[in-house]
Subunit: 314 residues, 2 copies
Amino acid sequence: MTEKHYTIKDIAKLCQVGKSTVSRVLNHDPKVNETTRKKVQTVIDSIGFKPNRSARAMRGAQDPVVGIIVSKLNSSGESQTLRAILTALYRQKITPIIVESQFNEKQVAHHLNLFKQRQVDSVIVFGFSPLSKDILQQWQGNMVVIARYFKEISCVYYDDQGAIHALMHKLHSQGYHHIGYLGIHDQDETTGRLRTQSYLDFCHRYKLPPNFSLTELNIEAGYQHCARLSLPIDALLCATTSLAVGAVKYLQEQKLMCPLAYIGQNPLLEHFVPNLISLDFGYEQAGNQAVDLLLAQIRGNRDVQQQLVSFQLS
Amino acid sequence: MTEKHYTIKDIAKLCQVGKSTVSRVLNHDPKVNETTRKKVQTVIDSIGFKPNRSARAMRGAQDPVVGIIVSKLNSSGESQTLRAILTALYRQKITPIIVESQFNEKQVAHHLNLFKQRQVDSVIVFGFSPLSKDILQQWQGNMVVIARYFKEISCVYYDDQGAIHALMHKLHSQGYHHIGYLGIHDQDETTGRLRTQSYLDFCHRYKLPPNFSLTELNIEAGYQHCARLSLPIDALLCATTSLAVGAVKYLQEQKLMCPLAYIGQNPLLEHFVPNLISLDFGYEQAGNQAVDLLLAQIRGNRDVQQQLVSFQLS
DNA sequence: CTGTTAGCGCGTTCAA
DNA sequence: TTGAACGCGCTAACAG
């Protein structure tokens, strides 16, 4: 039972018109007689005819394809951004190709190569994947990086410093002056260095005693390092959700619950901890902005643009 | 700076050979002189020439496109399955188009329509999205459903009953006989009815007193309904992660920690609850199986096939 | 307004 | 082994 594959030629014959007329109807060319249009359209609909995409693409401007490199499919923040990107892209009839980097530099390179072979026009990369200078250079003007700042390339990045500042400000204004900080070490540019720096800056400016510990990005590390903070602590700020989770575990064990603030979001945490301040970046907004930048690039504006994404306290 | 787009014609001229020879080199046709092949290949490489995909697709068998409808991008289980699907698909040079249904039936219908327009060959649907009979019928032979059983269509589904049974068995064999159950109401076929039924069956078979409460799929509901279980309870089984989280909160508050078993996975829970049994379905396996079924369909085997996915206790 | 003609870039004959 | 010619399904330019 092989389905007959119709072409505009077939439709033309069936309608007793020329191929081009069918083509015109397909492309909503205004200069076709209403009667003919009806006739052709009816046949098209009744037969369920769809013009061949490849043939179509060959002639005119083939609708663009963008590659998307996410670092990990199941990451709450990335998912939200990805969702926004996808809907924005579909609205523009742009086909996205999604791949995963798993934070692996070689994977990124590999996928970028594949993209070139597949004639991908532009790329959106979630910035936690490492990016070498030559890749950046090579895709200059056809790439948007999300969540990380690079001065050489268009990017949409999060306001890490502002976020930490806001959280500190909130705690401070609530009267807490011994604020501990659990962070990520400086190798990690955004989640690590930037946030730590911002914490230290705040302490410095408001004459607060810095009290912090830097570690890895996982729950256990948060648990361990929470113990390393010196007392007294009357509030705790964590750079990430995982650290917050680890910290909460420690604090609970020590019957030492103090207000907790962190960057990220986790429904479970909210249920376990009464006095919680969380901060979310505008993930959706980031996605939309990234697509906007990409569209600008596709349309010829190859200028490097940087956009900051704001955040929301809750 | 518009990049010159090369064609085989250009390459042919540069190599002083015919277009067809270039084409042959591109397609690894064995009957070309080694010398000419070298010559042509060199030019191709040096110039970085890639044959136009659309033109290519137009002639031969255009490489297939499959649509994937996930219900929610950020769901741990679905993500894992999706990952497996993507890698399997890429290996086959199949292009996936991913969309989100958000558990919304109209969205599913909408996307399926779009798929038809885009000449999508087949579809993989994550079964939590509702599927009407006519859709099922329409895509019969070109669709694989994941996570839900339909007798009319090929699907890869999880062993809900076996899973609950296994968890019950584990608790029971550890000597617990008052096992409470927090579940989802029967409207939900898989997460709800099937699992509840399995719990009841187990109780019946082993002469255990049933002690359960059915509710909605969210943390708060788990918390509320945990209170409704009658005492005594010496172990608790939850149908889902969210319910488990809610339950843990309640149990902690009541200083009433008992062994907890649930279907799903959550790193946080493991950190808060000492005596925890969790069960994961073979999400990756499900993805791979789904792709296998799809490939079989594409290759002409339109028979409806059902496959059960096993699970892992931990 | 509409039909005819000419390609798009590539794979595939078919002679040479 | 190779090159020339043809056609895929479609859009665009040109006549009518």
